[in-house]
Amino acid sequence: MYRYDQYDQAIVDARVAEFKDQVARRLRGEITEDQFKPLRLMNGLYLQLHAYMLRVAIPYGTLSGTQMRMLAHIARKYDRDYGHFTTRQNIQYNWIKLEQFADLLDDLSKVEMHAFQTSGNCIRNISSDQFAGAAADEVADPRPYAELLRQWSTLHPEFSFLPRKFKIAVIASDTDRAAIQLHDIGLQLRRNDAGELGFRVYVGGGMGRTPVIGSVVRDWIPVGQFLSYSEAILRVYNRHGRRDNIYKARIKILVNELGVEEFTAQVEAEWAELAPLGLDAPQAEYDRIIAQFAPPAFDLAAPDTLDLSDPDFAVWVKQNVHAHKAPGYAIATISLKPKRGIPGDASSAQMDAVADLAEKYAHDEIRVTHSQNLVLAHVKKADLYALWQGLDAVGLATPNLDLVSDIIACPGMDYCTLANARSIPIAQKIAAKFEDLETQRDIGELKIKVSGCINGCGHHHAGHIGILGVDKKGEEAYQLLLGGSGAEDTTLAKILGPGFDEDGIVVAVEKLIGFYRGARSGPQERFLDTYRRLGPAPFKEAVYG
């Protein structure tokens, strides 16, 4: 894992000191809320329905046991004993007090964490593959490059006031576990025939009000030049991105208005100017950062077998455990979608337990996934049973990864000022309808994603079944979308028909799933595949007919 050097820590300490002063001036009445609001947003502090909400950055979703334990401490001391892991691999706290904020920032900075650039029109937290460094199908660990992007984008003076927020994701395998084609920039690390590393560069993807799948603007940029190429993309966007209309300010709109060819030509022209200027990191810096992501010292003698005689453990292994690149090891996903739970929420006790288990069994590394779950990426197969028992003891052994109850849901109108409708109760009601695990396993992979407003934090456009909360004369209503995917076969879900009320949307999902189970070609055909094979018409008939 990357550890701060003196420069990283100095930057955080200086920024924390600056914001603490701004908070103190606001509390003394020396600056107005209009003056303070953009400052607090640049530091991840929102005012939501019930209180201030703080979003803490977890770069590329990776953190240590010590950091997770600090997140638990923050929940206990400054919030109401829980936190909410987000679709951007961050964590949010819902009940923060401004008058305690200075102490909170000090606590976070002690473990190399902060909250800046988790809001505002800047480059947000870089996201990545939760299986990075452990997946057998990756060409290299993508996180050193995500870390370089983090350092490059942190307080970047030219890109701190972009037309709109900007999101970058980095992966290193053909399997996309980070939805890169739905990012402002998506970077896929690849290896050519000569064994060299380079990136395929997608630009202009995104969800929200205007969902767009990103376009490839360059099929290959050598890995040593990807920072200057990213700078060129940001420069073109910063120069021409619209600032007159917030709904047309994202880079996807600029790419669409210019056309991919013209946008790419402008980026290439900009890059031709930038590339010779020495903006890219020197090889020594690449080497320094890559060294910090060196794989742990795997036990080459670790047994590669697993005792599955406990049937409950066997189910968890089958559903939540993935193959690891090292023999004798496995990747374990911790579901944050327990029965009757709130997607992505974890109590301070659960966070402490995960920290303990990560230190004991997983080389002190934890990952947050964009699906609002946690991952322990390096677990000896011989330790999996003890890990599972430890997770089960704190309610974290739900074996439902990628099943119908593993639902992404934004905080929705239970917390968020932007929301038009609640998301969490919809996720809970749908999950409750399919509570029986055998039924869930029979249905198979099914990704349901719920957003409480058009901004799409719940990724409804990437859901096999997407649900979008809308306002209908002050009351909640829900649109139903089908056919989305955030994986390597990215597609955008489309609205199926008229919307529903809270109970109606749950019934509609039941009808969809009932139809799918009867129409699929076999047990291996996923809901999404059946939809793609048959098209929307029979699904529409099943719901509205």
Binding site: Q48, H50, A51, M413, D414, A419, A421, R422, P425
Partner: protein, 95 residues
């Protein structure tokens, strides 16, 4: 339709209602606001201690107010999915 004045306390972010003399975290303590609403908001904005002051529509009677929109009912009661965090003057059941 009666209207109540609400906002969030600067120091804590807590949801508050105007009682006629002060602020309360309980909607049951609120008083209906008449034509003085806009002037009240203007004075609050100037004082800068209450964030996002707004007038909201409610039904009911003093001590038994119910906001007309789901959003304001959630603000008044607390998250519908965490009844243990409800504010006490309005059950999350009304959401």
């Amino acid at each position: 339709m009666p209207r109540l004045l609400t906002g969030n306390r600067l120091e804590t972010g807590d949801v508050l209602w105007w009682t006629g003399r002060d602020w309360s975290p309980l909607i049951r303590d609120a008083v209906a606001i008449g034509d003085e609403g806009d002037a009240l908001i203007a004075s609050l904005v100037a004082a800068e201690r209450i964030n996002d002051p707004a007038l909201i529509d409610v039904t009911g009677t003093p001590g038994n107010w119910l906001p007309t929109t789901t959003r304001e009912r959630v603000r008044a009661s607390g998250p519908s999915v965490r009844a243990d965090l409800a504010r006490g003057s309005l059950s999350t059941d009304v959401i």
